[in-house]
């Protein structure tokens, strides 16, 4: 078994077909009148099984099935090149992907900004945003920092005083989160010490072992460790508290109201899909998030439901891209 990335990106180059009618699901359903009838749904995940995107797809599949909204749902992991293999596949085979939704989000924005990534979110059809994972600042239980302000002060004194870490490579979203915090705290983002781990699991091991002193990652990924008292969640990079960790303060409460970071997850369809069909998918998802089955899955994973569709979604993506571009420029990752 190969050991690659654990969270947020490809676990390994494995692909999986699961659920009913996986192969059949990719066949086109282009009988003219019934084009808006959706009777099966195929999730395309550009990352490996076990990672964040995969969990979004599988969790949504579970909720769709348990709520009775859709029985015929499948998940396919088409991994490689940070999700771009799946994007390219969706674009190339667009005519026969009428039942397919690809799971992506903040990742596609960062990767198309920072690398020679040929596609952007404009090359696919945006359907709806579904969740938004809020970033948190974590320290080990034995850390001297019990309050975020103590750490902020230490960093203001010396930008390298605290070893910040994350489960994504340099220039990836976890690094962005650390940089955003530093910037808002008045610390030069390029001066901070960022230690990159291969996935959230290894990063947590590094934090528990004392190699990293503070970790920036979606707080839900560390919830087992937070609940068992092995790590302390100092603050959420969000503008409001989370019902899942009600005692944890927000960045705003710690005097850094603009230090926000989240990993938005959205469903995207093949380019050129008929607007009526896109609407039918968005309707389905809007109905889903109101069901008890969704609430069950959401609560268990401590997801933050974040539903947006139509023009509001397009505007959101544009703003998201603008903010991330500024941050990446400041860090020197783009010229």
């Amino acid at each position: 078994m190969t050991d690659h990335r654990i969270t947020g990106a490809s676990v390994s180059r494995r692909a999986v077909l699961a659920g009913g009618g996986a192969v059949a699901a990719t066949l086109a359903l282009n009988t003219s009148a019934s084009a808006e009838t959706i009777d099966r749904l195929h999730f395309l995940v550009g990352f490996g099984a076990g990672g964040g995107f995969d969990q979004t797809a599988r969790g949504t599949m579970e909720a769709l099935q348990k709520s009775g909204l859709m029985a015929n749902v499948s998940v396919e992991n088409r991994t490689g090149a940070g999700g771009s293999i799946a994007i390219a596949h969706l674009i190339e085979t667009a005519p026969r992907q009428q039942n397919t939704l690809m799971v992506n989000g903040t990742s596609i924005v960062i990767r198309s900004l920072s690398r020679e990534f040929n596609q952007t979110f404009r090359d696919v059809t945006l359907v709806n945003a579904i969740t938004s994972e809020i970033y948190g600042v974590l320290v080990a239980a034995n850390s001297p920092y019990t309050d975020l302000n103590q750490m902020t002060e230490a960093l203001r004194g010396n930008a390298r005083a605290v070893r910040l870490a994350g489960g994504s490579p340099r220039g990836g979203i976890d690094h962005m989160a650390a940089a955003k915090y530093a910037k808002e705290a008045g610390v030069q983002p390029r001066a901070i010490q960022y230690i990159a781990y291969d996935g959230g699991g290894r990063a947590l091991a590094g934090l528990l072992g004392g190699e990293a002193q503070a970790l920036f990652m979606p707080f839900t990924e560390a919830l087992p460790q937070v609940r068992s008292g092995q790590v302390r969640l100092l603050a959420l990079m969000s503008d409001k508290r989370s019902p899942d960790v009600p005692t944890v303060p927000t960045m705003g409460e710690k005097g850094l109201p603009k230090a926000l970071m989240y990993n938005m997850r959205a469903f995207m369809a093949a380019p050129g899909m008929a607007p009526a069909r896109v609407n039918a998918f968005a309707d389905l998802m809007e109905r889903l998030i109101a069901t008890p089955a969704w609430e069950e899955v959401r609560a268990r994973n401590a997801w933050n439901t974040f539903f947006l569709r139509g023009p509001a979604l397009a505007t959101f993506f544009e703003t998201h891209e603008k903010e991330l571009r500024e941050l990446l420029t400041e860090l020197g990752f783009i010229g």
Partner: protein, 498 residues
């Protein structure tokens, strides 16, 4: 503890759960046999089915499939030199030569027994020492990982034929170089990608191993076109040979199995290492420990050589449960999927899992154990049938191997680029093999290279660019001294003799 295990066994031994165990082992074995498809695929395939099961039932099914796939991976390694998944790559080193010598039955039986012993010892260690080991695992930091990889590299010596030292070293360096392809996580920079997005994740180990072994082997067989000896060879290969091991053989491999179980388990506990590294390391350790004629046999069909990696990779799979259950940290793709399933079932892994979900913990331990037993019951009788693959004449077997390798690699990523890449790599491998460059050091360098570099750089970052951690951290220093001894011992011996 005994009551705990008995409760677990009682929970697992219900007829419904036994069906799950049986079905899971069987299904896992078949998925694992497919070149390229391994435990991750098998486990994620079954996730939707676990929704309808109790937490204990779900863990039982997943553990059964996991073990089944680990074993299935070995059969393809032995029979057609195509590792079913990366942790069974070292199994090809001696398993395939054994099958060529008409001892396929014995090789497969050793795989089954090795898996059983490895799994059993790992279960015992998980039961006895999980909490202690988890604190050891998190204490193992970047500098220790680096030193461990250096120790692993000394295994090149183990893959060196007499007089082939330079060739083995060159191939290991080539492997280290290939490992740098892809996105470097410390800097977020792409290296040797040449603007091809398909390369930005680096080369896949399974793809490289299949190109280096199965595909190039099949191509060489086609090139040689030895029509004359064809019938005689088919007859030799068709012989499955006895499954039984003599008492002397058991005595020969027993210490290997115990050593490899312990080593495999300890490496498996580390979230950054895993079953593949465990398998390579135990192979190297056994080769280094062997003396005289036993050492000569390594790479040519040594029973110890097949026992070591087969035992170690199953033990490592058990070891991976330590950080998973006690810290909630998945060490590999498969355990990440299992962690997801646990959380879905409302079980929160962590230091209190023992107390809060004692029934789940013991059910996992019991199901792992029963999974091992059932694996043995299913697979031993199947071996003669599986091994009959070899009786297929080469004119048909070669195209079949080519077909299965290509399909297997395609099913991993659904990316046609991987197929072209594998064919190109196989072409290079054919040339290298024809001029007697060994492939094993290449794979060893590749598998260790990425982790070695990543951890060295992380250690340097953490220690502000100072190399002092190499001698200031006792475990790091100890591992490095051990590496130095491994390299210098044969040289010293030669000096003494000369």
């Amino acid at each position: 503890m005994i009551e705990g295990l008995l409760t677990g066994l009682a929970a697992v031994a219900s007829p419904a759960n036994l069906v799950l165990l049986f079905g899971g082992c069987l299904l896992g074995t078949f998925i694992g046999m497919m070149p390229g498809l391994g435990p991750v695929t098998a486990v994620s395939l079954l996730i939707p089915i676990t929704y309808g099961l109790s937490p204990a039932g779900a863990m039982i099914l997943l553990a059964a499939v996991y073990y089944g796939a680990m074993f299935g991976g070995s059969t393809a390694s032995v029979l057609i030199n195509a590792p079913g998944e990366s942790s069974s790559v070292p199994t090809t080193f001696d398993g395939y030569p054994l099958a060529r010598n008409g001892q396929a039955g014995k090789a497969l039986a050793l795989c089954a027994w090795g898996s059983f012993v490895g799994g059993t010892i790992a279960t015992l260690m998980l039961m006895l020492a999980a909490p202690t080991l988890s604190s050891w695992a998190v204490g193992f930091q970047a500098s220790e990982y680096f030193a461990l990889m250096v120790l692993g590299l000394t295994a090149i010596a183990a893959f060196t034929e007499e007089g082939g030292v330079i060739k083995a070293l060159l191939m290991a360096v080539l492997g280290l170089m290939l490992a740098t392809i892809g996105t470097d996580i410390a800097d977020g920079v792409e290296r040797y990608v040449f603007g091809i997005p398909d390369l930005s994740d680096g080369l896949s180990f399974v793809l490289l191993a299949m190109a280096a072994f199965a595909l190039s082997e099949a191509l060489i067989a086609a090139l040689r076109n030895q029509r004359l000896s064809e019938e005689a060879k088919a007859a030799a290969r068709g012989k499955v040979g006895s499954l039984k091991l003599s008492a002397a053989e058991v005595r020969d491999v027993a210490p290997t199995a115990v050593r490899s179980s312990i080593l495999g388990f300890m490496v498996g506990v580390l979230p950054g290492a895993g079953a593949t590294i465990a398998a390579f390391m135990s192979y190297a350790v056994e080769r280094n420990l062997a003396r005289g004629p036993a050492k000569e046999m390594f790479g040519k069909g040594s029973l110890r050589g097949i026992t070591a990696p087969e035992t170690a990779n199953n033990a490592a799979a058990g070891g991976a449960y330590v950080p998973l259950l006690t810290l909630g940290i998945p060490g590999s793709g498969t355990t990440a999927v299992i962690l997801g399933a646990l959380i879905t079932l409302g079980v929160q892994p962590g230091p209190r899992l023992y107390i809060e979900h004692a029934e789940v913990f013991w059910a996992v331990v019991a199901s792992m154990y029963l999974g091992n037993v059932i694996l043995l019951i299913i697979n031993l009788p199947l071996i003669p049938y599986i091994a009959r693959t070899l009786a297929i004449p080469e004119t048909m077997l070669v195209p079949l191997i080519l077909f299965f390798c290509l399909v297997g690699v395609y099913l991993v990523s659904f990316n046609p680029f991987d197929l072209w890449l594998m064919i190109a790599l196989a072409g290079v491998a054919v040339v290298l093999r024809l001029v007697d460059y060994p492939m094993a050091p290449l794979l060893l360098g590749f598998v260790l290279g990425k982790l070695m570099e990543e951890n060295l750089r992380r250690a340097l970052l953490v220690h502000d660019g100072s190399f002092a951690f190499l001698w200031e951290r006792p475990v790091t220093l100890g591992l490095l001294i051990l590496s130095a001894l491994c390299v210098s011992a044969p040289l010293l011996k030669r000096l003494k003799r000369g």
